[in-house]
């Protein structure tokens, strides 16, 4: 489990997060949702250590991440996998090399063991026969899946997805959502997904933290998000004409 206790983040004079308190549960798909610019990416970057919060704590199974000694922090980082918004695959490497990269860096696996592990991860994301291709030769959805395979390579306990559906068509988005749910339940990972895709919110969000202007404005799950009486949440969820029509049917 990941606990976020009273986390605040400033950029110079500007405060972006205001004492956010939430938790992300093990073996579940945990969503961080909110409008663009609400601070959800900053919160995720605080979780993975790309930003250091000025106040508050981020606890990984009770271990306070930002105050850990460097060696322990490094060990904890090896338990994390992250899929970035733009996939962040290394352009100069083939897909197989991308997936084996963390294995090459952190394990003593032989070449054939690494290749087997890469093939297993690529099969998990339904991306076979792409081993020798370069990221530039893949479509957006395939790049996302390759990035998921790379994140899975070291068998992480914590998986982070930053806007996994951005720039994808609805069908590919669904595939990515299904994949996130499958991986989370199959490998019992603590998965944190940063999204504002309504379909993902409704279908895969087992716990949902709604961030509004840097504050945690609501916490719940996909079961009760559509019937919440939180006004700011409803303004976000029912912003589009399609969802407004849906609301009338509820």
């Amino acid at each position: 489990m990941i606990e976020v206790n009273n986390v605040s983040k400033y950029f110079g004079e500007k405060q972006v997060l205001f004492g956010v308190d939430t938790r992300f549960e093990e073996g579940k798909v945990n969503l961080i949702i909110g409008r663009s610019g609400s601070g959800k990416t900053v919160l995720m970057k605080c979780l993975v250590g790309l930003h250091t919060p000025e106040e508050g704590q981020v606890l990984y199974s009770g271990r306070e991440f930002h105050n850990l000694p460097e060696k322990e922090k490094l060990l904890l980082r090896k338990e994390m996998g992250m899929v970035f918004q733009g996939s962040a695959l290394f352009d100069s490497m083939t897909i197989e090399e991308n997936v084996t990269f963390p294995l090459d860096m952190f394990t003593d696996m032989s070449e054939s063991e690494m290749r087997d592990r890469a093939n297993f991860c690529l099969e998990c994301v339904d991306l076979v026969n792409t081993n020798k291709l370069y990221p530039a030769e893949l479509s957006g959805g395939m790049k996302k899946r390759a990035a998921i395979a790379r994140a899975l390579a070291c068998n992480p306990k914590y998986l982070f997805f930053d806007e996994p559906n951005s720039g994808l068509d609805p069908k590919t988005s669904l595939l990515i959502d299904e994949l996130i749910t499958k991986i989370t339940h199959e490998f019992n990972t603590t998965t944190v997904v940063n999204t504002h895709d309504l379909n993902s919110i409704i279908t895969i969000g087992e716990t949902i933290s709604f961030i509004y202007q840097g504050h945690l404005a609501w916490r719940g799950s996909s079961d009760n998000i559509l019937t919440s009486d939180n006004q700011t949440l409803n303004d976000f969820i029912y912003a589009q004409p399609l969802t407004q029509r849906l609301r009338k049917t509820l």
Binding site: K78, F84, F106
Partner: protein
């Protein structure tokens, strides 16, 4: 302005501390180092040889034109050409050329990795991106640039010799005599020392400007230009300082 420059210098020093830390895995580091040496060395060989041939040719012609006098010995052309080529033109001009060629490549490569979150991905994996990406480039350039400088000297002297042979501005025998007259190994040591220092400046400054990019393609272009301008400026200043210290 001064405060900003000092702040940037401080950031550069912090960046260097990150760069010169132990690589996460030596076998991966060595692979990257060899790759960088190959890319930098082979990739720059053609341009270095063309520029050096032309430079040697022109310096020989100009020297011959300036000292057309019966009072000056004929070997002076070779002597002046060699001294100019070995001590100044090859280490400095070739280093400035490599700043444009390799430095801009380094800034663009690291900058695009920053823009596309590849550097963030390394950091999340628990890898020190500065050390992983920059250290092999710095060490490769410190090895490769002096080698390129030696090739450059050889090509420039060949260019001078061919010019003498084609134009007859002096005799080839006198030119060769001048090339070997009062030759000091220390001159080559001085040239290679300068090249090593310039290589360090080129690779670290170019990497620094790529590494600290915030934004997109526009910033990448600006960073590339800034990297070249700042490296060239520092190289020119250090050229004066090293010359004062070593000569």
């Amino acid at each position: 302005m001064l405060r900003k420059a000092l702040a940037t210098f401080g950031e550069y020093l912090i960046f260097l501390r990150q760069v010169f830390s132990k690589p996460a895995k030596w076998s991966v580091f060595l692979k990257k180092w060899v790759f960088e040496m190959d890319a930098m060395g082979i990739g720059s060989m053609l341009i270095v040889s063309i520029v050096s041939l032309a430079m040697g040719s022109v310096i020989t012609m100009q020297t011959a034109l300036q000292i057309e006098s019966g009072w000056i010995p004929s070997w002076t052309v070779g002597f002046v050409a060699r001294t100019s080529i070995v001590m100044e033109l090859c280490p400095t001009i070739i280093s400035l050329l490599l700043v444009g060629n390799l430095g801009s490549r380094i800034t663009a490569e690291i900058g695009s990795m920053r823009v596309t979150e590849q550097i963030d991905a390394l950091e999340v994996m628990g890898i020190n991106p500065a050390s992983h990406l920059v250290l092999p480039k710095v060490l490769a350039s410190i090895i490769v640039n002096p080698v390129l400088c030696v090739f450059s000297i050889a090509f420039a002297l060949t260019g001078g010799f061919v010019t003498v042979w084609l134009t007859g501005c002096t005799t080839t025998y006198a030119f060769m005599d001048g090339l070997t007259y009062c030759f000091r190994v220390y001159d080559v040591v001085y040239a290679l020392t300068k090249t090593c220092v310039f290589a360090f400046i080129m690779s670290t400054v170019a990497s620094f400007y790529g590494y600290r990019i915030e934004g997109g393609a526009l910033e990448l272009g600006k960073a590339s230009t800034q990297g070249i301008v700042v490296s060239s400026f520092i190289i020119l200043i250090l050229n004066v300082v090293i010359t004062d210290i070593m000569l």
